[in-house]
Symmetry: C2
Subunit: 476 residues, 2 copies
Amino acid sequence: MSYSPADAAFAASLTASLPEGVLGPCAPRYLEEPRGRYQGQAGLLAKPNSTAEVATLLRAANAARVPVVPYGGGTGLVGGQVKPEGAAPLVISLERMSRIRAVYPQENVILAEAGAILADVQQAALEQERLFPLSLAAEGTARIGGNLATNAGGVNVLRYGNARDLCLGLEAVLPSGEIWNGLTRLRKDNTGYDLRNLLIGSEGTLGVITAAALKLSPIPAHQGVALFVVPSPEAAIALLALARDQLGEAVSAFELMHRQGLAFLAQHLPQLRQPFAQAPQWSVLIDLGLARGQDPVSALSDLFEAAVEAGLAEDGVIAQSKAQAQALWAVREQIPEANRLVGSIASHDISVPISVIPEFIRRGGEAIAALGQGDMRINCFGHLGDGNLHYNVFPAEGRSRTDYDDLRGAVKTVVHDLVQDMGGSFSAEHGVGRMKVADLQSYGDPVKLAMMQAIKQALDPRGIMNPGAVLPSLEP
Amino acid sequence: MSYSPADAAFAASLTASLPEGVLGPCAPRYLEEPRGRYQGQAGLLAKPNSTAEVATLLRAANAARVPVVPYGGGTGLVGGQVKPEGAAPLVISLERMSRIRAVYPQENVILAEAGAILADVQQAALEQERLFPLSLAAEGTARIGGNLATNAGGVNVLRYGNARDLCLGLEAVLPSGEIWNGLTRLRKDNTGYDLRNLLIGSEGTLGVITAAALKLSPIPAHQGVALFVVPSPEAAIALLALARDQLGEAVSAFELMHRQGLAFLAQHLPQLRQPFAQAPQWSVLIDLGLARGQDPVSALSDLFEAAVEAGLAEDGVIAQSKAQAQALWAVREQIPEANRLVGSIASHDISVPISVIPEFIRRGGEAIAALGQGDMRINCFGHLGDGNLHYNVFPAEGRSRTDYDDLRGAVKTVVHDLVQDMGGSFSAEHGVGRMKVADLQSYGDPVKLAMMQAIKQALDPRGIMNPGAVLPSLEP
């Protein structure tokens, strides 16, 4: 398959059909991604003002077979937003389509254009006394279209689900330039195939999402936050079950932390106050969002008592104020920054079935040690309630990540092989992008891969949408 | 496209590859459906014991181009389970594949084969002190594979979602006979297109679901049930928002009832005790599932007080015991039976955005009256919290439904046109099946219909899967 580049001739062919200022050269910042692993080819950058303009762009790109890269906030971690090889693409940034079209507080629904920044969607919901629960580190920059295209996760998945679970309807432009109007606010609609969920998580390879109808929730009346020291990952899992038995859906987040992460924090961010004098081997941060009339401190005290009784907790701190709650969350939230300052050999965004997490942690440690350099440090932490762990491997104290350059590939393979063996996923939250295309080919179910190829061929027969992302590039 | 029938020659071609007793003639009960509108063609009936046998059957059917009708519990209401015209099909009943393969209480996951009866899945969850929340009238007969294939709804959608929202992974056989192993128990997995949701709700037109990983929930510690009299549908919607503000996700069901339904009950099921001496114009049944430490009667009393204060409730009954709770639910649950005894001119399973429900009710009444026979009675009731109303039109007192035979089509058109105009769906819960294929063609977004056709062609190129359901039949 041979593409045409998004060049001056292509731009010229569009001058008559687009207002001035929509199409131009591609500024460097659209060709970079946060981890600096990929550098995009410089083609053209379009900043459409409307769904109709997106349609015009795609129709032209499809006719000329120009590759298209849809662009949200550019915060993706797997290179889905840059095309480093082959024909220079048309990058379509949705940044000008950032309106909140409407909020329906009685329906718990918000209609946002794809370019709306996640934090702005949250804010628009708050103004109507509603919660848009998708929450993640990049929320001040990420745009909702990109969140949906990558089915973003974050800290509230346990209670509210992934981006997929927060979307009722989509408006999208297909590669042909046709506009699919699926922007429904309905909770129940059984009229044909689920195209919404097909586009969600397809990472820009099937079309461009231009707007979404999103689910809101009531804002919990009270927040409760605690940090419990647990004797083991097994105990953490049993504690989660106990918490849900006692508190139902009120458990909003349940985050596992290992001593290694707290040690990195103490070393590199010493100003951050840690709740325990001696960093515990394993601890969990519990976040509750409670209804009116429920008292968070007494709910967490009851849980702590029952947990101690059952041998599931050894120590604990319950936040008595909003400031204390924030301080406990800060510990969890600063771990990635401490990791960055240490510098990992390899990081993994993996998930396994919740009940096998302890076995995964044990076998992972053994497998890393068996690589021959028994000195690597492991920081395993994350969204225990979702089975989603950040499993990061670091150099021995006093050594540098470059000392392990030869081992990086082997570490990654060991972890992903183990995940595969245990029925897990090598990409829990971040998607496939370009970085994990080979992983998907090697670990993915072959029947699934064939179905994906058939669907791609059916909906994007000229292969213009984000070529080389998710599925292997067809360019020579 | 011309199909071969599932006849003796086709059966003979399979004798060597299947155990005795799997393939045979099709018993009459597999050729009927609950409303008696369709009579299936008698071809062959297969009762496979395993996924591998399903694969053998589909491979042969695909090679010979024999149409296949997947069969669950046979409780569907739109004719998706019978093929009344064209080549006689191979009916594949999953009834022998009814095992619960495993329950993972710590993960809140159950693995069930597609032929497991819904009530048995609920029971297996209960035995592990977990809730499988999908609940609907046919649960004693319906099978989980069919529930997923049709994305079934029911009374707990408000809190727990549709069947789609309760499924983590699928195992399915494609028309080619290939087995897709997507039976994951993961909560987060962003590795490629969402094939699970594509199969869910596709009504057997893309493949045969053979097993599913399903989400369980903690069992709420306390149930609270009340019936509030509301001054209007507007007030009912505001009351729902108030209830969710006060109680969060604890609101499990919120059902609107109209005086007409209570009048039908009084007339045809007089033994059923009704809570109010004078049937109210509009009332809502509220069901709460509360966590430990919460008192349902005081929660509902608080809600009632606040509702009266805000002008959203005029009278109310709060169940003080399990028996009283069941008695209140019985009122709601017997309305369909009373409807059946009266005999509707036309019934509609529709949804609209929640905030336009009052306008829909008003305009619906006017449009029905404008048909010229101002005497038709309307019973509008259902899952207010999901925007899903059962909108049923009945003859005037003393007249029979056959008196309105000429009007039936017009009534249906008027209701569906109005639903379309208000951004709603002509099939909220029941699916398209064969009954609503023409509706989907006339009301469906044309770009969506084209995408559906492209996907169908890509995944079932020989068109063997449930031909004539969802998409128009290609048979002459």
